[in-house]
Symmetry: C2
Subunit: 268 residues, 2 copies
Amino acid sequence: MVRSIGVLDSGIGGLTVVKEIVKSLPNENIIYLGDTARVPYGTRGKDVITQFALEMVDFLLSKDVKFLVVACNTISAVCLDKIIAVSPVPVLGVIDPTVDHALKTSKSKRIGVIGTRATIGSGIYETEIKQKDNKAQVVVASCPLFVPIAEEGLGDHPGTRLIAKDYLSIFKDQDVDTLILGCTHYPLLSNTIKEVLGENITLVDSAKPAAETLEVMLQEKGLLNNGSLSGKLEIHVTDAPQRVQIIAEQFLGDPLPGGLKEVVLANL
Amino acid sequence: MVRSIGVLDSGIGGLTVVKEIVKSLPNENIIYLGDTARVPYGTRGKDVITQFALEMVDFLLSKDVKFLVVACNTISAVCLDKIIAVSPVPVLGVIDPTVDHALKTSKSKRIGVIGTRATIGSGIYETEIKQKDNKAQVVVASCPLFVPIAEEGLGDHPGTRLIAKDYLSIFKDQDVDTLILGCTHYPLLSNTIKEVLGENITLVDSAKPAAETLEVMLQEKGLLNNGSLSGKLEIHVTDAPQRVQIIAEQFLGDPLPGGLKEVVLANL
């Protein structure tokens, strides 16, 4: 039995990360868990986010995964340390690879970051960027409505543009050349964000940087699957009404292999 | 020890109902429970909503309440029957009183209803209105983004107006004279809804009709508190970051007495 990579997310936005992992590591088995019964996490308090995330980790560890990818900026920002502390297998969050990629992309080293209230409130992006380049300037904004807007498929709606104009107004005279989309849902609003901020800002999201770092880490740790069979992708969610299936396909960019499996998580 | 009225809600929107209960029954003790760790309910599946609601009922029954008010349209629409089945004390949902009030308000008997996806999907408003007046005409629309918009305090934002225009377009040529705001969050968008639909439509929400029906039921069942002391209001939530406190005061229209108490619900 070939062990899988476990991927956890507050909902289904993390499937954008899965999509990139499948592209670069087509032989790996992946078990994904999205907490669709309790999404969104980004508006909640630290203790609740940590409790929910550790319940998901328990589920994935019970499936004997060989590696954990935290494909959610909010969880990565709030309690990655707690997950690393309990996990017997290596853990990768999305923030570190995203910061590296943004620093490579930015010429001016003036970097913008948008995310959920919990992610921005944690201050983690400023801290990590400054640690890696103490001359970099960071401007941040939380955009709490972007998650429900993405889930409703209204990323390109004219009403969304007006809300985005408000959320992003802080970047207007800041000369940032790179904007980190610090939430896996936000790529669904890329067009609107570009319209508001202009074409001179490069948008950076977590999906590709996370998949690239995962490949390096698997190699280093001797955990790559060197078989020649195509990997299997199992998608588990905590609530699976039909609508979740439809949006999941939008995030994955493909029909769902084998549909969605529903699981019930036990509270601590 | 004077027994309390238990009020449950998916979040803090139900405080609009509490506000009306306090006005009309100032001597009653009230214990409120809002599931802020898992709000919103209206986008989730029936099984998950039912599980979460029954966990809240357990908590309130453990406080020996004398009556349960389900101050949430989504829970009332999806699983009121399940709550009645397990509860040893009388239960009031918000839909029945709201329908009565709308039928009294409407002259043309052409009634519009807006609510969450779960509430509208249940078809309960059409069913109940037709049962009480089989000549009434009902037009419905779900408005999934209105809950997060209300919670973000953006009810009057120009972007919200454009989104509302889309959601409410179905009512344009329908000649409805009364619109049921079938979600306790929606009163925070009243101005925008009136701007979009014009002043000729009367908006009806659940708060006052539910409080009036509660008074009648308590009287009938001999459960009124006839003491002369002011009642106490205890507000419990499953997640209490500072922001929830601020929004809770908006919904209640008053400073919170004694702040918010945080509780952890156990999954079934």
